[in-house]
Symmetry: C2
Subunit: 321 residues, 2 copies
Amino acid sequence: MVLIEKAAAGDILSISRLMSEVENDTPQGQRALDELYPRGGRAAIIGITGPSGSGKSTLVNRLALTLSSSPEGEAVKVGVIAVDPSSPFSGGALLGDRVRMRDLGTMPNIFIRSMATRGALGGLARAAEGAAQVLDAAGFGIIIVETVGAGQAEVDIARLAHTTVVVEAPGLGDDIQAAKAGILEIADVLAVNKADKPGANATARSLQVMLEIGAEMAGEAGADIDARWHAPLVMTCALDGAGVDELKTAILAHQDWLRTHGGLEARNQTRASDALEKAARERLFRDWRRELDEDAYRAALEDVAARRVSPRMALERLLKP
Amino acid sequence: MVLIEKAAAGDILSISRLMSEVENDTPQGQRALDELYPRGGRAAIIGITGPSGSGKSTLVNRLALTLSSSPEGEAVKVGVIAVDPSSPFSGGALLGDRVRMRDLGTMPNIFIRSMATRGALGGLARAAEGAAQVLDAAGFGIIIVETVGAGQAEVDIARLAHTTVVVEAPGLGDDIQAAKAGILEIADVLAVNKADKPGANATARSLQVMLEIGAEMAGEAGADIDARWHAPLVMTCALDGAGVDELKTAILAHQDWLRTHGGLEARNQTRASDALEKAARERLFRDWRRELDEDAYRAALEDVAARRVSPRMALERLLKP
């Protein structure tokens, strides 16, 4: 496919077109992913998540800029995939894009793709993963996947990313303690943004306490404390760029740690297993439905809706005609 | 099964035990759901969701109390299922429970069950649905399912509920606009809690604007505006109980609307279809894996992890040996 060759060679227009095919799950998109897959696996995927209002998008812009120049001074291609699962109107994503375009629109080494909810959240995670695969195969060294919130989408993204950065900020609600415990679980690096705002230090302290409790609980649960990565906390101010270099250093340190502790290998295994399992579930169900008598399925649905029989028993009957 | 008979008769201890079986997905739990299913379908399921810090739990307590006495003065059995997908430490859920127990622990017509994340979020939604089915079959007229946040769990709960109440509060972040658009999509009723706090009216106004934009967009998308339910916004103060009766009225009005506009029927159809599909996916994958040669599956996994072949093509080979 010419499009694939051009995308793999880094042609921006071809990359965009391919991503659209992948997002829409067209046959061409599926074939493209098959062909691109063996060329990928080299990019560092960085997930960045945090609540709305944490200044996450501005921080991502800054980070993309710093990451696009390597310590040795060579250019690194950085891709940004901004996923907004909470915005069906895509107003949020568009707003973020305007800021983004102003800051990054003219940078030759930075590619940006925004995605808003299109019905299924699962579809969004799939589309984001597909977009990351396209960028990976196209030679992007670093791929940033940005999401809002603290739901299943974040957990899915964390599975996709090698390093997950959780962004918090002061003044986003006073009983964050309970709500943040879950999201801290997935954090490899914690950033407290808006560090110049009142309450930033208090927010950092309470997050630090929670990180320590989490580490202690993991220790009690039998995890070897020395073998674990201890998520560092970095104070940032995305508006003036303070702390962004420290954040970059923390991210690169985690990537080093992954490489030296077998973490990359382990994550690749998990991702391969997830991907194969997901593909199998989809395919088996589709094939089964295609071969199944439509009337029998409809009758089973009616029985379940009318509560004559449970879903599991209705399925049992469909399986053994 | 004696346990099922006792639970169906309303015995609290049997209901609790059955819920544990269902949560742990034991064979007995699965059989119980099969047996209970035909007895259910009568409860009104109310989903209540909103961010941490919105005072949601206190509001749920108040609502459970008001709903447990019907307009005619008879007692209605109310079940509360509190789901906290963001708390793997379950500290949040426990904290909420203490408040709950103080307020509701001695009420004979109110049953409370709390669930925190146990690994998979999907598992949590399944467990909550199972618990709701047990309560439904045990003659609970109203079941409140409470969740935190704005992720996939909420969307799943909204599919389970007949009426979804989204709770907001002032002071939970200043650019809520973008983040809340998604959650507003699922709201049948909106509650602005902490109505006595500064900023409550501003929060209500901005939510109202977003509701109107949402309604307009739906109108442009071709939905018949007169045939749609217009989510009302209610100001509440859970601490002193102000507005809770209005919230109850709004919820009951939505239930009436569902009954008179075929909405209950439609939701039951959707739920039946979802349930049958989910059961089929699980079962087909499990059966396939059981029959599959373990070495072949492991080899495919290795090929995918080493990027020799894409997940989809590896699956293709496994399906056609």
